[in-house]
Each structure stands twice: as structure tokens, then as C-alpha cells.
């Protein structure tokens, strides 16, 4: 303890503005308190102006819409009741984004301070002892290091932009203050997640963001589909959290500490590739698979699109779903000595990337495409952190936050415009179905241009941000297939080297599919003839500047985000800024993976790497050009007139029937067992029937017998008395 205190005092950041790091999460929490208070206060005024009543009226015609289509109604209102803004909307519009903006400014100041000093150890602030129970000593502590700083910048930066966008998108919603209260609370928990200095504090944030995700997916809870989607996300995440908890229990039982510094130090003493560290890593990855929507737990994320679109951008694309990637990078000291677990991480990532990309090919809902795209890109990040290229995975996390937030907010603008158009004409078509869009380019040129930039970025076209991050993951995978501890390990009896080449192929195929489905989305949304309808066309327009402004900023970030981490062969500008920035946190772990003791093959040379890059670019360009040549937006019919798909395309459109399979294999059996065995058999039959009612019947039987003794006949009583007296006397006498 003394040593630690001395170390803390000697830290280069102590006494600087970094001491104020606690304010980062507290600011959004204040915003939550204020906005939540406003929401509660205004909700108590029951009457014709009651927001919840108005809310219910707005949604009365929901049955005509599909599950996913039912969302976003509250944003613009889809019938002819005049929806007027919330009475405190002005105040909320200021507080909501302001607290986050302040947080970002503070984060940037701390970041500048961190850049000016050289720090190799994390800056840990202990505030109070949270769980002092015997050997378990857990502090409420914040850890500031290069990784958490990066995450904080992404969360507060992208978060601020999305908050500003929300001001425009949600301004007419009756639940406006509630929305911002949840959104602020989410940012608070997300910052706790990335700033926590030990696993339990991280877990608090982890659960908190899950809660906010649930609240915001079901934000328009008066429609059952939305509430169900929220529940689905929550329950599926519980499965993952079970794994995370087991991992923490294993850590505590075998290591005895749960703070990152302590576990990192203890990791040096663990057996390389031992069963303990492998088990810990696999259980931890189960948690990541839940939170970050990987196979087999990805199913909640597409349904999560039931929430407002800015929520999809912030929580279900840019920040929360990347928490799993963050956790693996944060625990790199464990994963780097568990090659089998790392291979599993990369393999699941590769499978998810490919699998989700194929589903994305045939979706019609614009947000569903982006949802599957997010699942797929998260798979990429897990390939990165799985193969030990931790900074590459985190790099993709950052660039993905930029371009995916842009894509989601862009789709939000489109949906906003579509809603406005349908609202004006009283049309009840699905405003998110691409078959009802088409030709929006001439109505929304800014959104069109920015979304194309993001599309090219995600497809991996140089020199946009996604190209660099995706390429660094793919080339790292290829490189480690030849020479790393992972290549020397084996999974299911097959050498790690083979798996890594397979994962590389998965990644490459997914990159191709990404280019195809993103181009398809752009073609059907913005190009070709307009299918919205004659009357509606005149109402289609660009969203207000409060919405397009954040889009522009995100567009700049999407285009130039690659500058953060230029590869070595790229001889312009500063090379590998992010790699060297993250080096104190994940550098050792990454090097441990690459330096295999017995490997013989050589590093991927510069020329070799250029070939890989060329392949990746050709694949991406091929995807885009195939989409352009094969897809004919001119021939597309509006959703109402579209024929059903046939064959494999139908399988894709129905997402491989995974939801149905889960329903048949897990949900329904669980439900039936719960209903027939657990409820009717055990609860109603055994517990209620035998134990509760049985014991009462037993007592009633005794009572019946006792009452029969009370015959009222005095003679009988006298007999009993005499017999009793004789028995007592006899017993006393004969003793």
C-alpha cells in the first residue's frame, strides 16, 4: 500500500488537470439527474397535455407495421395529431449536449496533458474502498491510461455529436427529457466502464450501459415489439454477463486481486497457455460476445434497431457494442498468454464478420443493413484483438465509431425526411424500407455525399479511414498465420496457422461482401427513380443543420481518421501514432504473441504487405463494381408491391432463420419446460400442491381428528380422564 501511494504521488500526471478525471463521468450524470428530474416533474401533470397520453395516441395505428418498422413514429408522429414539443424541450436541448461537450473538452485537456508527459504506468485514482470483504479488497478507483483516454475521447466526442443530432431528431417527441436523461446516463456508465481501474468497477459500467441500452431500445415502449426488442437485448446480454462473472470469480479464486494492475502483474506468473488462463479468457470472451453481438449471441443487435436512430448510432454502433473489444484489449495481458482462447476469439470474430455480412446482403430495412454491418465490423475488431494485434483492433474500433455513427445518423436523416413526407400526406408506408426510397440524392445531397464517404470508408477504399484499420487487421492476421504463438497453438487438433489463414480468408470475403451490401444500400436509397410516391416527393428535404452539422464533422473524421495510425509502408505523415500511443498498455502483450519461440518463417516483408493491401483494395473495388453492375434500382418496386424472394435469397432475407432456430431450440423448449414442468409440475404441483396445500391438508386432518375427540359427551371425557390418571399413576408407580 505504501509503495503504491508513493508510486501514485510520483506519477507524472499527479497534480495536473488529470486529477479532475472523476469529473468526466460525473458531468453526464448531472445531466441525467437534471433531465430525469424534468422528465419526472412534467410527467406528473396529468391532463390533456400529458405527454404519455399523447404518446399513446401517436402510436395507435402501429399494427399495420412490421416489427422493425414500428419504430421512430414518436420522432415525427405518423398521424395527424399535432405533435408539439415538450414544454421543457428548450432547457433539455441545452443541458443534454452541453454536459457531454464539457466532458469532451475536459477529456481533451487531460489528453493534451498526457501527451506532454511521458507515462508508462497508468494513472490510478482511488476514491474509497468499495468492497472490503476479507481477502477481497475492491476500491472505487479510476484508471487513466492511453487506452481508456482514447475510449473516453471517442465516447465523449462522438457522443457529443450524436447528442446534438438528437436535438433535431427527437425534438417533437413527447418523451424528449426522458430520452436525454437515458442518453446522459448511458454516457455516464460508458465512461465508468472505460475508466474503471478493476474488473468490478468495469462491470458496473458494463451492466449500466446494458440497462440504458434496454431503456433506449424500448424507448417507445407503448408498442410491444419495441419493448420485446429491449427485453431480448437484456436477456441475451445476461448470458454473456454470466460468462464475465465466472471469469471474475476464477480470477479472484486463483489470483486474489481484481484490479488491472494486479492481474497484469499476476499474469506473468501464470503458465503460458495453461487451462486456468484459457478458461478465464474464454469465459470473459463469452461476456464480450454478448455485449459486442458476436456469434452465437449477436441476435439482439438487429432487433435493437427498434430504438431511436441516434441511439443506434451511439450505443449500438459506436460505443457500447465495442465494450467487448475494449475488454479484450484491456485484458491483453491474459489473452496474450492464452493462444487457444485468442484463436477462438479471432475465429468467432471471423465467422461473425462473414455471417453477418451475408445477411446484410438481402435486408430491405436501411437500419437492419447497418445493424448487420455493425455485427460484421465488430467481428473484424475481434479478429484484430484475437490475433494479438490489439492496437489494430482498437484502431478499427475508433474508425468504425466514426463511419458507422455517420452511416446511422445519415440513415436517421433519411428516415426523418421520409417520415416528414409520409406525415404530411398521411401515408402509412414503412419509412425505413429502402424499396420505398430511391432517388433521394436530389432531395438530400449533403446526406448523400457524406454517406457515400462513409460507405467507401467501411468498404476499405484508400485513403479513407476504414481502409487503414481494416488493412492493419487483415495484414496482422496474415502475418501471424506464419509466425506467432497463435500459429504454434492448435485448436480442435488443427494447427493455429491453418485457422489464421482461414480467418484471413473470412475477413477478405467479408470485406468483399461489405462493399457489395453497402453499395446496394446506397444505390437503393439514393439512386434510381424515387419510389416514395408522387405526393410525398414534394415534402422530401434535407434535415435541419442541427442534424447535418454533426454529419459533416463525422464525415471529416471518417475520411481522415486513417491518419491516426498510418502503416509503415505509407511514407507520408507520421507513422503508427496510435500504435505508439497504445504501446504502454498493449505493446508487451502484442509482442508476446508475435515472438514465438520456435517459429522459423520470416516476417511479412514490405513488398509482401503491399501485395496484401492490393488484394484487399481489389476485393473492395470488385464488390462495389459488382453491386453497381448487378443491382438495378430502376427495376425495384415499392415494398407493398414487391414479390417474395426465392431460394437462398429468401434464406438470407430471413437471416438464415437463426431467430426461428433459437426459438425452436432454446426459447420454446425453455418456455414449455418452464410452463409445464417448472410451473405446472414443480411450482403448482410439488410446491403449491404437495408442500403448501399438502401441509395445510395434513394439519386439517389432525384438526379433524382432534375435533372428533371433542364429542361433548361428558362420559367419554370422564373415561379419558380416568384412563389418563391411571396411566400416569401406573407409570409413576411401576417406574
Amino acid at each position: 500500500m505504501m509503495l503504491l501511494q508513493i508510486a501514485t504521488q510520483a506519477h507524472p500526471l499527479s497534480g495536473t488537470i488529470a486529477e479532475w478525471v472523476w469529473l468526466l463521468p460525473v458531468l453526464p450524470f448531472l445531466g441525467f439527474l437534471i433531465n430525469g428530474g424534468i422528465s419526472l416533474v412534467s410527467a406528473t401533470h396529468v391532463g390533456p397535455a400529458d405527454p404519455d397520453m399523447g404518446h399513446g395516441m401517436v402510436h395507435h395505428d402501429s399494427d399495420a407495421h412490421e416489427v422493425s418498422a414500428a419504430e421512430d413514429h414518436g420522432a415525427v408522429g405518423d398521424d395527424h395529431h399535432a405533435v408539439k414539443p415538450h414544454q421543457y424541450a428548450g432547457l433539455v436541448s441545452i443541458i443534454g449536449p452541453l454536459v457531454l461537450g464539457l466532458s469532451f473538452v475536459l477529456a481533451f485537456m487531460i489528453f493534451s496533458e498526457m501527451r506532454s508527459v511521458s507515462m508508462t504506468t497508468p494513472f490510478i485514482q482511488r476514491y474509497f474502498s468499495w468492497m472490503p470483504v476479507g481477502k477481497l479488497q475492491i476500491d472505487a478507483a479510476i484508471q487513466l491510461d492511453q487506452l481508456s483516454m482514447l475510449m473516453v475521447l471517442v465516447i465523449t466526442g462522438v457522443g457529443t455529436l450524436i447528442h446534438i443530432f438528437s436535438v433535431g431528431y427527437m425534438k417533437e417527441d413527447p418523451g424528449y427529457p426522458r430520452y436525454f436523461a437515458y442518453l446522459n446516463l448511458f454516457v455516464f456508465f460508458m465512461l465508468v466502464l472505460v475508466l474503471g481501474a478493476n474488473y468490478p468497477v468495469l462491470f458496473v459500467g458494463w451492466e449500466g450501459v446494458g440497462l440504458c441500452s434496454y431503456l433506449l431500445i424500448g424507448f417507445w415502449f407503448s408498442e410491444k415489439a419495441n419493448a420485446d426488442a429491449g427485453k431480448k437485448a437484456f436477456i441475451v446480454n445476461r448470458i454473456g454477463d454470466f460468462g464475465f462473472l465466472i471469469a471474475m470469480f476464477l480470477l479472484f479464486a486463483n489470483v486474489g486481486v481484481l484490479d488491472f494492475a494486479g492481474v497484469g502483474a499476476a499474469a506473468h506468473g501464470m503458465a503460458f497457455g495453461g487451462s486456468l488462463v484459457t478458461a478465464i479468457c474464454l469465459f470473459m470472451f463469452l461476456g464480450c460476445a454478448g455485449k459486442s453481438a458476436q456469434i452465437p449471441l449477436y441476435i439482439w443487435l438487429p432487433d435493437a434497431m427498434a430504438g431511436p436512430t441516434p441511439v443506434s448510432a451511439l450505443i449500438h454502433a459506436a460505443t457500447m457494442v465495442t465494450a467487448g473489444v475494449y475488454l479484450v484489449a484491456r485484458s491483453s495481458f491474459l489473452f496474450s498468454i492464452a493462444p487457444v482462447a485468442s484463436l477462438v476469439v479471432a475465429l468467432i470474430g471471423g465467422l461473425t464478420a462473414l455471417f453477418a455480412a451475408t445477411i446484410g446482403l438481402k435486408q430491405w430495412d436501411i437500419k437492419k443493413i447497418l445493424a448487420y454491418s455493425t455485427v460484421s465490423q465488430l467481428g473484424y475488431m475481434f479478429i484484430g484483438v484475437g490475433v494479438g494485434a490489439y492496437s489494430a483492433g482498437v484502431f478499427h474500433l475508433v474508425t468504425h465509431a466514426f463511419f458507422k455513427a455517420l452511416l446511422f445518423l445519415g440513415s436517421g436523416s433519411v428516415i426523418y425526411a421520409m417520415h416528414a413526407a409520409y406525415h404530411h400526406t398521411g401515408n402509412h408506408e414503412d419509412a425505413q424500407d429502402m424499396r420505398n426510397m430511391g432517388g433521394l440524392k436530389k432531395f438530400m445531397p449533403i446526406t448523400w455525399g457524406l454517406m457515400w464517404a462513409a460507405t467507401l470508408a467501411i468498404a476499405g477504399i484508400p485513403p479513407l479511414s476504414g481502409f487503414f484499420s481494416k488493412d492493419s487487421i487483415l495484414s496482422a492476421t496474415f502475418e501471424r498465420a506464419g509466425h506467432s504463438t497463435l500459429a504454434n497453438a492448435s485448436l480442435f487438433g488443427i494447427s493455429g496457422s491453418f485457422w489464421l489463414y482461414l480467418i484471413y480468408l473470412f475477413g477478405l470475403t467479408a470485406a468483399f461482401l461489405t462493399a457489395v451490401y453497402m453499395t446496394r444500400m446506397m444505390l437503393y436509397t439514393f439512386h434510381g427513380p424515387n419510389r416514395t410516391g408522387e405526393k410525398e416527393q414534394s415534402h422530401l428535404a434535407e434535415a435541419p443543420w442541427v442534424m447535418t452539422g454533426p454529419l459533416v464533422v463525422l464525415g471529416i473524421l471518417s475520411v481522415f481518421g486513417g491518419l491516426l495510425n498510418l502503416p509503415e509502408w505509407f511514407h507520408v505523415g507520421r507513422v503508427g501514432m496510435l500504435d505508439s500511443w497504445l504501446d504502454p498498455v498493449v505493446g508487451d502483450a502484442g509482442r508476446r504473441v508475435v515472438t514465438a519461440p520456435s517459429a522459423v518463417s520470416e516476417q511479412v516483408s514490405g513488398g509482401n504487405e503491399l501485395v496484401l493491401i492490393l488484394i484487399a483494395v481489389v476485393v473492395a473495388l470488385a464488390g462495389i463494381s459488382i453491386a453497381f453492375s448487378r443491382l438495378k434500382p430502376q427495376k425495384l418496386l415499392p415494398a407493398a408491391q414487391s414479390p417474395e424472394e426465392e431460394g437462398f435469397e429468401r434464406v438470407l432475407e430471413h437471416k438464415y432463420y437463426v431467430d426461428e432456430a433459437y426459438d425452436a431450440a432454446i426459447v420454446n423448449p425453455t418456455y414449455q419446460i418452464s410452463k409445464n414442468v417448472l410451473w405446472r409440475g414443480i411450482d403448482a404441483g410439488l410446491i403449491d400442491g404437495l408442500l403448501v396445500n399438502g401441509s395445510s391438508a395434513l394439519m386439517r386432518g389432525f384438526g379433524w381428528m382432534g375435533s372428533k375427540l371433542q364429542s361433548g359427551a361428558v362420559g367419554t371425557y370422564a373415561w379419558v380422564l380416568v384412563v389418563g390418571v391411571l396411566a400416569v399413576l401406573g407409570a409413576v408407580t411401576l417406574r
Binding site: S711, A713, A718
Partner: protein
């Protein structure tokens, strides 16, 4: 002398018990109870000859209680008879559980 007295009182007491148990008429049961009391009295008196006057004091108490009991008990029996035109205990079972 003591043994004979105790034997007599035991016989009297047993007769009283058997009467209480077997007879149905409340008056006869009542008389049998008196018989039991007096059997006990006889025992007390017999013992007092050997162990001091305390037994005789008890006899006075028992007779007092017996007199009171006779008054109350007969009153109850009369009251029952007025209600039911009978003092047969088999018909009197209102306290049935």
C-alpha cells in the same frame, strides 16, 4: 387399623369412579362424585391419626368445597332438566367440537 381404613376408602373410591363412568343419570353421577370425595376424606382422617391434625383440616376444606359444589352442581342439573326435561348425560353434548 390404617390398612383397613385405606382399603375401605379405596373400595369406596373405586365404586364412585365406576359409578361416574358407567351411569348416565346426572344425579347418580353426582352422588358418586360425593362418594369419591368422602372416600378421600376417610383417607385423610385415617392418615391424620398417624401424621398429625393437618389431615383433619383438609377434611374440613373438602367438605366445604363439596357443599359448595353440591349447591352449584344441583343448580346446574336443575337448570338442565328445565331445558331438556332430562338429566341423561348422553343427551347433553352441546360442547361437541
Amino acid at each position: 387399623m390404617l390398612a383397613e381404613s385405606l382399603a375401605l376408602s379405596a373400595v369406596l373410591f373405586t365404586i364412585g369412579v365406576i359409578g361416574v363412568l358407567t351411569r348416565r343419570n346426572a344425579i347418580i353421577i353426582f352422588m358418586c362424585v360425593e362418594l369419591m370425595l368422602n372416600a378421600v376424606n376417610l383417607t385423610f382422617v385415617a392418615f391424620s391419626r398417624y401424621y398429625g391434625a393437618a389431615g383433619q383440616v383438609f377434611v374440613v376444606f373438602v367438605m366445604t368445597v363439596a357443599a359448595a359444589e353440591a349447591a352449584v352442581g344441583l343448580a346446574i342439573i336443575i337448570s338442565i332438566f328445565r331445558h331438556r326435561q332430562s338429566v341423561d348425560l348422553q343427551n347433553i353434548n352441546l360442547l361437541k367440537g
